[in-house]
């Protein structure tokens, strides 16, 4: 399997562990990722909320480059960051559905000497893993069964809403399924797509913290040992504000928040430093019982 | 002057094969020479054009004209001979349908000229000289006829009374025609003087064709060994026979090669290519979109295959090209 890879800015900064672990895990699964050459900002929030057309233009440039990059068959972009995934998907959909967007984008690209014919497929890693790779193939690679580990899968909003391209918009299960194929137990966590506060944590702190508190408390109440997620911003919110939440609301929360690809990597026996585990603030290794003595000695 | 019916043979955009086919009457040519008075036959006899122009209208009982129309010169001769002839017969594929030179209707005139006089690998023509309808060489004026933008069949220039199909027509068809004319036993004006059933009707391989034929793959003649006993189409090799008028006694299949359609369609068909296309596509077996595409790619050149001889007289007549000014000249 070969795909174009669109990391986006987060995976080059706060989300580095996601980038590292994703590449490692996909490599292990024999999936070839080619980073899109000369990619640019996906056009997420900052632009989208100010000038939608510009956002479309930015996103479309990436799509156009991708289209040109692949000669055999329709090109597929893998976008791990929820924001990128959403904006690229939206641009693709609008390009197909609305004349004015199609014309606008075409005009803007022409200015840059580019053309886009609308053939690119934008897909999320979860989609690839479930539908292209398949759970059996994943299970086959597992060296360290995550037996007895209770995992809460957190999807956030953007990967499934408003475009439910590969999973249920309100109660997605793809990440849970993958976790189960690693041998872990998944908790039925009704808040798996509830708001993480997004950038509120930075703007209206009180609101942001409350929202995260709900998520963390319910996750613990359901007996989770750790939370896995597929979104850099969610990971950041859930992990980095735990101290603050404990202080403000008198909680005793210390719950590891990691990328689902990191847990997959550990299960596959990929050395943890290739998975950016050390970059996390809350070390998940202690709770990952399955790894006791299981982590390769040379690590 | 003898009172035998006066006959003319003339050629336009042709290869001379039609002339040869007349010579191929062999012994019978002597019979014909007895029965008729040949007044015009450039390839084999010396005659003056002035004789023709001096003739009274319709003085020639019948003129057999072969070749398509591509130059002003040919158009003129066609019009003159129309006027001088009682019956004008389009003789052979080119006059009848446009013929193989008609395939040029798939290309702009300029592209033809540019290749011949500039691009062909052996041409040395740095100063890009082109033949001119009117040129001057050391003050000497020379002229050439106009080269039209497209190839036309005879009946696209003048009214045609009858058609003799084939590339070239078989001596048998010619002889039948001459006899019919002499006996005055001609079918309705505008008829093609050949059977009105497709080639299969006279093809010895017909009985070998299965009634439930489905074509899973198309093969090109050089890719397979064709069984001389079996229906060629049933071997997956495109044969124009089903969509082509008979009369040649299936000469090409007799040579173990498929019919390429030189006699044009039967009277019930307006567009030979469209019909064989319809028939072959329907008779092929794939159902999946991609499979269909792949299998039909086995016919790499639909136009050249289905309209080998009849492009100028097909419904479309000529490839649509960016607007040209018809008289723009080389």
């Amino acid at each position: 399997m070969k795909y174009l890879y669109y990391p986006g800015c987060s995976l080059k900064s706060t989300g580095r562990p996601y980038d590292e672990s994703l590449r490692a895990v996909f490599a292990a699964l024999g999936i070839e990722l080619t980073e899109l050459d000369d990619w640019n900002c996906c056009g997420a929030t900052a632009y989208a909320s100010i000038d939608e057309n510009q956002a479309f233009g930015l996103a479309a440039r990436n799509l156009a480059i991708a289209e040109a990059a692949v000669t055999d068959g329709p090109p597929t972009i893998v976008a791990p960051c929820s924001a990128c995934f959403l904006v690229l998907t939206k641009t693709q959909r609008y390009f197909e559905d609305y004349d004015h967007v199609r014309d606008g984008v075409t005009r803007e690209l022409a200015a840059a000497g580019l053309t886009y014919r609308g053939h690119v497929k934008v897909r999320h890693p979860l989609d690839i893993l479930i539908h292209d790779v398949g759970l059996p193939a994943i299970a086959k690679l597992v060296q360290h069964q995550m037996k007895g580990l209770h995992v809460a899968s957190y999807y956030g909003c953007q990967v499934v809403r408003p475009f439910a391209t590969f999973d249920d918009p309100l109660y997605p299960t793809s990440m849970d399924a993958i976790m189960r194929s690693l041998g872990a137990e998944t908790v039925d966590w009704p808040l798996k797509t509830r708001c993480c506060g997004g950038s509120l944590s930075g703007t209206i702190k009180e609101a942001g913290l409350r929202l995260n508190q709900h998520l963390l408390v319910e996750a613990l109440r359901k007996g989770s040992d750790l939370v896995v997620t597929c979104c850099p911003l969610c990971q950041f919110n859930l992990e980095c504000f735990q101290k603050q939440i404990n202080k403000n609301y008198d909680e005793r929360i210390s719950l590891p928040i990691m990328y689902f690809t990191q847990l997959m990597g550990l299960a596959f026996g990929i050395p943890e430093k290739e998975l950016g585990i050390r970059r996390l603030f809350i070390d998940p290794l202690p709770v990952i019982g399955a790894l006791k003595g299981g982590v390769p000695a040379h690590v | 002057m003898s009172d035998k019916p006066k006959v003319g043979f003339y050629w336009c955009a042709s290869c001379g094969g039609c002339e040869e086919s007349i010579v191929d009457l062999a012994e019978d040519i002597l019979g014909v020479l007895d029965a008729v008075d040949i007044r015009l036959w450039p390839v084999a006899m010396d005659f003056k054009r002035s004789d023709v122009e001096a003739m009274a209208d319709r003085e020639l009982a019948v003129t057999f004209l072969n070749g398509a129309i591509r130059t002003s010169e040919q158009e003129e001769m066609a019009r003159i001979l129309r006027r001088k002839s009682g019956l004008l017969i389009a003789y052979g594929s080119c006059a009848h349908l446009g013929g193989i030179p008609g395939l040029a209707n798939q290309f702009p005139r300029e592209e033809i000229l540019r290749f011949v006089y500039e691009q062909s690998p052996t041409t040395e023509n740095t100063e890009k000289i082109r033949p001119l309808t009117s040129a001057e060489d050391q003050g000497r004026k020379t002229t050439l006829p106009k080269f039209f933008t497209m190839v036309r069949s005879l009946d696209q220039i003048v009214e045609v009374d009858y058609y003799l199909p084939g590339c070239p027509p078989t001596p048998k068809l010619l002889l039948n025609a001459v006899t019919a004319i002499l006996k005055g036993e001609l079918p309705p004006k505008g008829s093609v003087l050949a059977p009105d059933t497709a080639l299969c009707d006279e093809c010895p391989r017909r009985d070998s064709k299965p009634v439930d034929l489905q074509i899973p793959e198309f093969h090109r003649p050089h890719q397979v060994v064709i069984d001389p006993a079996l229906c060629i189409l049933s071997q997956g090799v495109v044969c124009m026979g089903p969509a082509t008028r008979g009369g040649c006694e299936a000469a090409c299949p007799a040579g173990n090669m498929p019919c390429t359609g030189c006699s044009g369609p039967t009277s019930g068909v307006a567009d030979q290519g469209a019909k064989i296309l319809s028939c072959l596509a329907a008779s092929s077996s794939p159902k999946e979109e991609d499979e269909i595409r792949r299998v039909l790619e086995g016919i790499p050149d639909p136009v050249g295959t289905f309209y080998r001889y009849a492009l100028p007289t097909s419904i479309l007549r000529r490839k649509r090209m960016p607007a040209e000014t018809p008289q723009a000249h080389q």
Binding site: L170 | T197, K275, A282
Partner: protein
């Protein structure tokens, strides 16, 4: 006939259709324009051409002006072509000298610019005028109707249709895929609004079917093949193995007790898995036929052969046959009624309602079984976790009126939710909440029933439920299911904790509706329900003559509507049968032999084997009786030797030419 003199005299009529056409199309201009076309002798506009005076006008003109070709520009030929052909024939002109122009569905109803619409109407009219000039006189062929009828589906609709026909003296074969007839209705506890018990009114009809001399009842059977055409269908039916000889079994049920399984272990279908059954079982006490069957998936004997086969020993009538194989029957019928019913919406698709995750979330049908005296709990309202609910929430419109699932209203949910509210309260005294968008109680005595419920203090909260969750934010919510909903009456989001949730799931097409419709060669509507020929004027006909539809397979219906429609379908079938024969479109293909080269290209193209090859003559030959008139061979014949009545090449060419000939804006403003 009036065309002998060879001269073509065309009469053209453009219909206003009240305002439907005239509002957009300048009919006068069209009429004036057509008047100027060759061969047109009369060109008129008229308010309603399909009306009696309209047809009379036509007749009069034919007579006065010796017309021999008629063109009417009005609605779709699918609607009124017959009408005008008949009118034409009445006036002594061959009905196939008529051509219809569709300027309503294809013009006035879909275009807004009057100028463009008028231009288009003119083009279409001109094409028709040219076409009709090329028409030939034709004689329609008639086929006789086999009086036997096939009814597919043994729900209330199928049952009623079968009985109606059988009572009219027709031989009926009723095919039901389940082991018993009765369908969904048999699962209901009571029926709204009268609250009479479903079983009490259904079972008599079920046994009537079983015992009717004119009805052959085949349960546990499926139609696998349908050949032929109206009046002459040949149908193949597959009998699935019951492992019990139907004719020998008397339904004593002793074999069931004798089964090596002492306890019933298998979730039983009839009770929606709330109860258990044994591998050998009878779906429910009143099942018809009263015949047990063995489920090969769970029966040790069938699966592995290793079993004491106590059931076999027990049956002294030797009815049990563990080696039974599927068998096939072929029957011939003249007409077919499809009553294949519906499927309830699967609420797992709306994951946020927690069905399948929270044990105490039920769907309506399960609730029906829970409170049914012969149900798994013998009518005791005991939840999956063994508790008895003190509060129950009924969520309306689950899988209905929702663009993410189904846009349509399932029509029955409001009423059965009310019914369930009443019954649940009656059984448990619990507080019952209804969460609804609107209450749709359109039906005889329905609204009254709603009023009754209001008096019974059932709570009604107007708002679409957002989610059912066990996420407790306050102690009172612990251990409960919380229904989160915006109460649009008071404009606040409410969290209502309940013990039991009932999802009022909607009705959707059977999962195999598409295969079935291909099998019978009919169409489906966008939603996937079978498509009727006309929504108002032909609600039980389909586009395939002789095939009718009844009940929920055509769209969501309650019992009274299904029964009414079943009656209608039966009447349509009877109409065909009693008329004895039907006229078919004479649009068959024919061959001009002198042009046929015997290339055989056409032979294999005909799906109906109507073309054969004559070895002696080396020519193809078309059997018009078998030809269905698709024209595929016509389009393929490389000699142009095959032609099609009503769709001759010449007719279509003249239509193309007519559409494209002469166009320039100024001539629109005639």
């Amino acid at each position: 006939m009036s065309e002998q003199n060879g001269e073509i005299r065309i009469g053209f009529y453009v219909c206003h259709c009240g305002h439907n056409i005239a509002n957009i199309v300048d009919v006068a201009a069209v009429a004036r324009y057509v008047a100027g076309l060759p061969h047109v002798v009369v060109s008129r506009e008229y308010k309603y051409m399909c009306s009696d005076p309209g047809q009379e006008l036509l007749r009069q003109d034919i007579h006065d002006h010796r017309l021999n070709r008629i063109v009417v520009a009005s609605c779709s030929p699918l609607l009124h072509e017959q009408t005008f052909r008949t009118a034409t024939a009445k006036a002594g002109v061959n009905p196939f000298y008529f051509q219809m122009v569709n300027i309503r569905e294809n013009v006035s109803w879909v275009h807004e610019d009057p100028a463009e619409a008028t231009l288009k109407a003119r083009d279409l009219a001109r094409a028709a005028v040219r076409r009709v000039a090329a028409h030939k006189a034709l004689q329609p062929k008639t086929v006789s109707i086999n009086p036997d009828v096939l009814v597919v589906g043994g729900g209330i609709a199928g049952i009623h249709a079968a009985l109606t026909l059988a009572n009219a003296g027709k031989k009926v074969t009723l095919v039901e895929r389940a082991p018993t007839i009765g369908g969904h209705m048999a699962m209901f506890d009571k029926t709204f609004p009268t609250l009479d018990c479903a079983a009490c009114i259904l079972t008599p009809k079920m046994s009537a079917v079983k015992n009717h001399p004119n009805i052959t009842l085949w349960t546990y059977a499926e139609v696998t093949k349908v050949d032929g055409f109206v009046g002459n269908y040949t149908v193949t039916v597959k009998h699935k193995p019951r492992y019990v000889k139907e004719d020998l079994c008397v339904g004593c049920l002793e074999c069931i007790d004798a089964c090596v399984y002492k306890e019933a272990k298998v979730p039983d279908e009839f009770n929606r898995g709330l109860g258990k059954r044994k591998p050998i079982y009878i779906p429910f006490p009143q099942a018809t036929p009263q015949v047990v069957l063995i489920d090969p998936e769970t029966c040790i004997a069938v699966k592995s052969g290793k079993c004491k086969r106590t059931c076999v020993e027990k049956c002294d009538r030797l009815a049990i046959d563990l080696d039974q194989k599927e068998s096939f029957d072929e029957i011939t019928v003249g007409t077919i009624i499809l009553a294949t019913g519906f499927k309830t919406f699967d609420p797992k698709r709306v994951s946020y309602y927690g069905y399948g995750r929270y044990p105490n979330v039920y769907i309506s049908l399960e609730a029906e079984r829970l409170i049914n005296a012969s149900g798994p709990t013998s009518g005791e309202l005991i939840l999956r976790d063994g508790r008895r609910p003190k509060t129950v929430g009924i969520v309306h419109c689950v899988g209905s009126r929702d663009k993410n699932t189904h846009r349509w209203c399932s029509r029955t949910c409001c009423m059965y939710s009310l019914k369930l509210a009443h019954l649940l309260k009656e059984h448990s005294g619990a507080e019952v909440y209804n969460f609804y968008i609107d209450i749709r109680a359109a039906g005889k005595a329905y609204e009254e029933f709603y009023d009754k419920l209001l008096e019974e203090n059932v709570h009604f909260i107007r708002g679409r439920v957002a989610e059912v969750t066990d996420w407790a934010v306050i102690p009172e919510e612990e251990g409960k299911l919380i229904i989160r909903v915006e109460d649009t009456m008071i404009g606040v989001v409410r969290r209502i904790p309940v013990d039991m949730v009932v999802l009022a799931v909607g009705m959707e097409p059977q999962s195999d509706a598409q295969e079935v419709r291909r099998l019978f060669n009919i169409s489906c509507s966008t939603e996937g329900f079978f498509l009727e020929r006309h929504p108002k004027l032909a609600p039980v006909d389909t586009f395939t003559d002789g095939i009718f539809i009844a009940g929920a397979c055509q769209g969501p219906k309650d019992i009274p509507d299904s029964v009414a429609q079943a009656g209608a379908a039966a009447a349509q079938a009877l109409m065909l049968i009693d008329s004895g024969e039907i006229k078919l479109e004479p649009n068959t293909a024919y061959l001009t032999e002198q042009n046929c080269s015997g290339c055989k290209s056409c032979i294999n193209l005909c799906p109906y084997h109507a073309i054969s090859y004559l070895d002696d003559k080396h020519r193809a030959s078309i059997n018009e009786a078998l030809c269905k008139g698709c024209g595929t061979c016509v389009a393929s014949c490389p000699s142009g030797a095959i032609h099609q009545n009503l769709f001759e090449d010449e007719e279509i060419y003249s239509e193309i030419d007519g559409l494209l000939a002469e166009r320039s804006p100024e001539s629109t403003a005639v």
